[in-house]
Amino acid sequence: MRHHSETARRLASATLSAALEAGAEQAEVIATAGTTALTRFAGNRIHQNVAESGTEISVRAVLGNSIGVASTNRTDDVSLADCCVAAVRAASVAPADNSFPGLPGPASVEIADRAAKATRSFDAEDRAKAVRTIVEHSRRHDLVAAGGIKVTDQGIAVVNSLGVDVAQDITGLRATALSMDEHEGGGSGWSSFVCADAGEFDAEKVGERAAFLALRSRYPRELPSGAYRVVLAPEAVADLVEFLGWLSFGAKPVHEGRSPLSDKIGEPIVSPLVTITDDATAADAMGLTFDFEGQPRSQVSLIETGVARGFVTDSYWAARLGTANTGHALPAPNSYGPLPLNLQMAPGDSTLEELIAQTERGVFVTRFHYVNVEDPVPVTLTGMTRDGTFLIEEGKLSHPLKNLRFTQSVIEALGNVVALTRDREYIGSETNPVLVPGMLVDGFNFTGQTR
């Protein structure tokens, strides 16, 4: 079977030649080829079922210190040539960027095998059967299920005129299940699962957990606003860590003074229980082992036992700051700078049940909803809880709560971590999830509640 990475690499190489023929002094091409399929369900039936195949080509052309980028999804020779001409034309007009160090040269990249046969062959019928399994867990309890099963099979190639030539296949499956009790006083429950190999996917488990939480959430009560001890399930922790990654761990916000790590490298900024790294090379990591400049994604220590240790770079920010290129470039151009896409939070030594048992009075949060940034340096976020929020009393889940609004600095919350679970879960997209434990935190600020 021909892998998508071969298609991507062939297209990238041909486009690179076209870019140089079009007059680029240096050129870089990112090519993505593959298929994505998604089966969505709601109201206990499949209501959306889609599949697409396609290719994306992005060309970065360099003339002196000027850069132009063009992209297309059309892969005929004429369209690729037009795309290259557009990139070169943009570079010919763009003012010079004297801080641009040139494209990076080739570096050794270990290409991990992250594409599974079982995922590639997980077709529309398999998705429908898995949905039926998930739905059945809700239907038998007179609940209504919604969610989706998404399967991705992609090949990505990055080549440049200095000799960078890397390609990798990745597959992923992400399943989500929301179970809702639509009767008076009804609540909802949630479960999700992400993996590279569809062989690991257990639809029974996903459906069962969502239905269990929905049943447990009936007749939610109110809770006054205030600071509470919270037990955050991994799904909730993932939201906090992802925002931290986006706002805090890239070279750009650190340099510009917009990150809690700005001028704090080497200093303690959160609890010694907190260690966060970015590691695309870990044995069970998902996604690419190289970045979108074709450089190896290195393991980077971001926070180690509470101390700010480092940030991620790409070729531009490494040169500008005089540090090593950690290999975390996003596709050019982008406003974010380099970002960590394989975040991992180190585990603790507790179980989720033990975290609950350590809580005299507090709140258990299954997941957050619609989180947004109010203040970037302390990473103050606001958002809601949903699909399984419970009061904890005397070390046990007592009764469900109406969804709560929080307004909370993540840095402050990570400073108040009491314990972490030893089990961690991958949460997020099927290509770049974060790996996080459950977390016990003191003084978490709930500032409102929905009706």
């Binding site: 697409e52 007009v93 929301l178 406003s335 109010e374 103050t380 969804n403």
Partner: protein, 481 residues
């Protein structure tokens, strides 16, 4: 293209589809970004492909391909039917049916005086560089950003019912932002709006009218002034919300909850549901008598406007709220029969490779009759909120919290002190029922929002909202401060 559309319709019908529609979408876009005196990106992109949506065995199927040939159209159509038949393994209680529609053969084009793709790139760079330089005229400003973007979309739609529609439109957008940083606080001012500026269905002439260069020094000065602004007080205040922030308030707490697919649970797992029920039409007092809200896909120059939606339904103007009373939802051909109506034309897809979903058009708070100066003078103790910086709302669209770039304390009918990073929170119907004044059409403006996310895979829709400043009584402000 007609041949490809016909090939897809015929192949899907032969394969067993009871309904088929096919869309070919050709999109071209260009963006320029300058930050801190450095070109951050000059990018052009093109996307072209075919999507085929079918009903077979009473269920939906969709497939798409970037290869637009008659042979590929046949392949994609058959794939869509196979997917629909797989969907039928987990069917609903009744087969999918669509509200009736008279199919049309039509063409439509949006307004555009000067095609931005004919304007030399050098001219665009010169304008944006000049504006961005103006932001750096103020020494206190530490970070700057200037964005410019254009998009041209051409769509061809055909259905097995006999519709064949060709449409094209151009959108243009631009924005400036200046940041100051002090004592761990990052504060910003933007023009004409935050999050990339304002987007208009028009050509280069819309960018020229913005006068980015002329406004840049003022934006920089306002950002610098935030360094000495006071924090937002905590408590309950009467608030006046400026036009662009109110547009986002309408978006989150009226636009999304009135999407009928959300009400029916189709987006429950991701974006959420709605506090509204089918029985609320004509019964729920959504807001005060000052609150009248329309959904209008015919507003000239709005990025929420079109000739026909992606089901071939003609653009319409419909009331969602009339003098405070909830009167209707945003609908599709599948959902409208649930409220015994036909579609009011809100189905749009984010490109050839996505299915259409119910999306806002131009959902607007209709103007009242107040002058802004009079409204401020009529407010004893309040806060004026201007330009969004953060937004969040619960999964049923009830509990919201917004933060703005700037605020002004109102004391005894006058603006007295600038406030930094103010926020406010509320519950949707309670909030809209506290509205006691809306400014006149002199202050009413349409704001384009080109980044409305919904659905899985995530689809980004271009929608818009008209709003004039309005006053709300007894709102909680300064949350979590």
């Amino acid at each position: 293209m007609r041949g490809c559309i016909s090939a897809a319709l015929d192949a899907a019908t032969l394969a067993g589809a009871s309904y088929v529609d096919a869309r070919i979408v050709d999109t071209r876009s260009e963006s320029i970004s300058i930050a801190n005196g450095r070109i951050e990106g000059v990018e052009s992109s093109a996307s072209f492909g075919l999507g085929v949506r079918v009903i077979a065995n009473g269920s939906w199927g969709f497939a798409a391909s970037a290869t637009v040939t008659e042979a590929e159209a046949v392949h994609v159509a058959r794939q869509a039917v196979a997917i629909a038949k797989a969907s039928a393994l987990c069917p609903g209680s009744k087969p999918v049916t669509l509200a009736p529609l008279d199919p049309v053969e039509a063409q439509w084009a949006g307004l555009c005086e000067i095609d931005p793709f004919d304007v030399p790139l050098a001219d665009k760079l010169e304008l944006l560089s000049s504006a961005e330089e103006g932001l750096r005229s103020e020494p206190a400003v530490k970070l700057t950003k200037a964005d410019l973007g254009f998009q041209r979309t051409r769509k061809v739609f055909g259905s097995s019912e006999g519709a064949f529609i060709e449409q094209q439109h151009v959108e243009s957008g631009a924005g400036l932002t200046a940041w100051v940083i002090a004592d761990g606080e990052v504060l910003s001012r933007s023009y004409p709006n935050s999050h990339g500026g304002n987007w208009i269905q028009a050509g280069w002439e819309a960018i020229e009218r913005l006068d980015l260069t002329g406004n840049a020094p003022r934006v920089a000065a306002e950002a610098a002034a935030l360094l000495t602004a006071e924090p937002c007080p905590t408590g309950t205040y009467d608030i006046i919300i400026g036009s662009s922030q109110l547009a986002l308030q309408v978006h989150e707490s009226i636009g999304h909850p009135t999407e009928l697919d959300r009400v029916l649970g189709d987006e429950a797992a991701f974006a959420g549901t709605s506090f509204l029920g089918l029985g609320d039409i004509g019964a729920l007092r959504y807001g005060s008598s000052h609150v009248t809200v329309t959904a209008d896909a015919t507003v000239p120059g709005s990025i929420g406007s079109f000739g026909y939606d992606d089901e071939g339904v003609p653009a319409q103007r419909d009331h969602l709220i009339m003098n405070g009373l909830f009167t209707g939802f945003l609908t599709s051909r599948e959902s409208a029969p649930e409220i015994d109506r036909t579609s009011n034309g809100c189905m749009r897809a984010d490109g050839w490779n996505r299915i259409p979903l119910i999306r806002m058009t131009t959902v607007s708070l209709e103007p009242g009759d107040w002058e802004l100066d009079d409204l401020i003078a009529d407010t004893d103790r309040g806060i004026l909120f201007d330009t969004n910086s953060s937004w969040s709302i619960d999964d049923r669209r009830l509990n919201f919290q917004f933060a703005c770039e700037t605020g002004w304390l109102i004391e005894n009918g006058a603006l007295t002190k600038m406030l930094k990073n103010p926020n406010y929170t509320g519950i949707t119907p309670q909030f809209w029922n506290s509205c006691d004044a809306v400014c006149s059409d002199r202050h009413w403006q349409v704001w384009g929002i080109p980044n409305c996310g919904k659905g899985e895979p995530m689809q980004v829709a271009h929608v818009a909202h008209g709003a004039a400043p309005a006053r709300f009584r007894g709102v909680e402000v300064g949350v979590g401060r």
